[in-house]
């Protein structure tokens, strides 16, 4: 389980996370929604330990990772996979090399085994025959799927998705959501998805948390969030211009 307790984080005196507390249950898909610029990606980076809070604690499986030293973090990162907003593929490597890289560096598999596993991972995300392409030759949707294949390859227990469908057309968007659902059913990992895709994200999530002004305003099942009377949640999921969320 992942537990965030009273997280505070500021950049140049501007508070991004302001006393945020959140519990993410194991083996479930938790979506974090909220207006742009509210610190959703910052929240993910705190969960995985890429950022340290100014105050507060992040617990992963009962361990306080905020107190850990740099070299201790590798042990925690073994549990994680992450799909970055822009996929963060290594741009000097081909698709095959990108996906094979963690296997080559962290396992003792033979070349043939690595090749089979990479092809299998790429096929699982619906990609074939693009082994020799470089990331800049791929569309946004393909990059995200390669990123997902790479994130899944070492069977992590927790996968974080930073806006996995932003900027993609509705069909690709649905395909990626389906892919997350399918792989989650197959591997049973704990997923945290940051997304703006309302209401599509409700279809694949077990829990939804609304982030606003540096705190979790409301958290519940997709149905509970849909029925929420909280004015911020109501305005956000209806996309209304009227309400407490100011867009200027």
């Amino acid at each position: 389980m992942i537990k965030l307790v009273d997280i505070h984080k500021s950049f140049d005196s501007q508070a991004v996370l302001d006393g945020l507390s959140l519990e993410i249950p194991e083996g479930r898909i938790t979506a974090v929604i909220g207006p742009s610029g509210e610190g959703k990606s910052v929240l993910l980076k705190h969960i995985i330990g890429l950022m340290k809070p100014d105050r507060g604690q992040v617990h992963v499986d009962g361990e306080n990772i905020t107190a850990m030293r740099r070299f201790e973090m590798n042990r925690v990162w073994e549990k994680f996979g992450m799909l970055f907003q822009n996929a963060a593929l290594f741009d000097s490597m081909t698709v095959f090399e990108n996906v094979a890289f963690p296997l080559e560096e962290k396992t003792r598999f033979s070349r043939a085994e690595i090749r089979d596993r990479v092809h299998n991972a790429l096929e699982n995300v619906g990609l074939r025959g693009i082994d020799k392409k470089y990331p800049d030759e791929l569309s946004g949707g393909m990059k995200k799927r390669v990123g997902l294949a790479r994130a899944l390859l070492l069977n992590p227990r927790i996968i974080l998705f930073d806006e996995p469908t932003t900027g993609l057309d509705p069909i690709i968007c649905r395909a990626i959501h389906q892919l997350i659902r399918d792989t989650h059913e197959r591997y049973g990992y704990t997923a945290v998805i940051v997304s703006h895709e309302i209401p599509e994200i409700f279809d694949i999530s077990d829990l939804v948390a609304m982030l606003y002004r540096g705190r979790i305003t409301e958290m519940g099942t997709p149905e509970e969030i849909r029925r929420s009377e909280h004015p911020v949640v109501r305005q956000f999921i209806s996309g209304s211009l009227e309400g407490p969320i100011k867009f200027i």
């Binding site: 890429l50 590798n74 996979g81 741009d91 890289f101 963690p102």
Partner: protein, 257 residues
């Protein structure tokens, strides 16, 4: 007025000391990783190829013209004292002790150092370094340490090539164009160049390789704010490593003379 000045002075001083501290920690982390997690030889050979082999053309070109200029200048200066025969000695000592290591380092900074900063900087701003961390792959092991080891190996080798090509550049101008006796050119060189001179050149070029790789990797690793940030980091890396090479050269020369 005075308070504002003192505040700014204090802020600049704190910034300088913080930056120096961060650079030192970065160096220690790189060295620790070189020792305890050296990584696969392939990554190091790749860097030796990138820093060394790919710099050969520019090093050969620079060395030949440096040697030729030394031959030309040296000849006319020595001719005033009737000592043209000392040309080989003057060219060789200048190159082996000073110009070889310094110019090799400056050329490598320009060709490979800037590329190292830009590469690491782009990886930083596009979250590729974060991606490495989240796969529990230590960025120092894959990105930084191989580059530092690569530079430590490649720069002295390039320097040796620089010295040899430069000496033949001086030979071309001094002997073939200006008529210095070829036997005198090489004999004087052999007589005046000692092992101590060669060693000082080797020590200098190894330390210059370490300095340039350290500074260029550090600047790239801490690049931020998009393309402009990478461009700024690259400029800072080239300027800082060039200046540090020259300062360190003075320090080493004063110690080793």
């Amino acid at each position: 007025m005075l308070r504002t000045f003192l505040e700014k002075l204090g802020a600049v001083t704190i910034f300088i000391f913080r930056e120096m501290g961060r650079m030192l920690i970065f160096l220690v982390m790189a060295l620790v990783n070189i020792i305890i997690r050296p990584g696969k030889p392939f990554h190091i050979f790749k860097q030796i190829h990138f820093i060394g082999t790919k710099s050969l053309f520019v090093i050969t070109l620079t060395a030949s013209f440096t040697g030729m200029v030394l031959g030309l200048q040296g000849y006319y200066t020595l001719a005033k004292f009737g000592s043209e025969g000392m040309l080989g000695s003057a060219v060789a000592l200048s190159l082996i002790r000073e110009l070889g290591p310094v110019l090799t380092a400056l050329m490598v900074v320009g060709r490979a150092g800037s590329a190292i900063t830009a590469e690491i900087g782009i990886m930083k701003i596009t979250e590729q370094i974060d991606a490495l961390k989240t796969m529990a792959l230590e960025p120092f092991k894959y990105l930084i340490s191989p580059k530092i080891v690569g530079a430590l190996v490649a720069v002295p080798l390039l320097c040796a090539i620089f010295d040899v090509v430069g000496i033949y550049g001086g030979y071309l101008v001094g002997v073939k164009l200006l008529g210095v006796n070829p036997g005198a050119y090489f004999h004087e060189m052999e007589r005046s160049v000692e092992w101590k001179d060669v060693w000082s050149g080797i020590v200098k070029s190894i330390s210059f390789g370490g300095i340039l790789a350290w500074v260029c990797c550090y600047k790239g690793y801490h690049a931020s704010h998009g393309a402009e940030g990478v461009s700024r980091a690259t400029t800072e890396a080239v300027v800082m490593s060039s200046v540090l090479v020259l300062v360190w050269d003075y320090f080493l020369t004063s110690v080793m003379l």
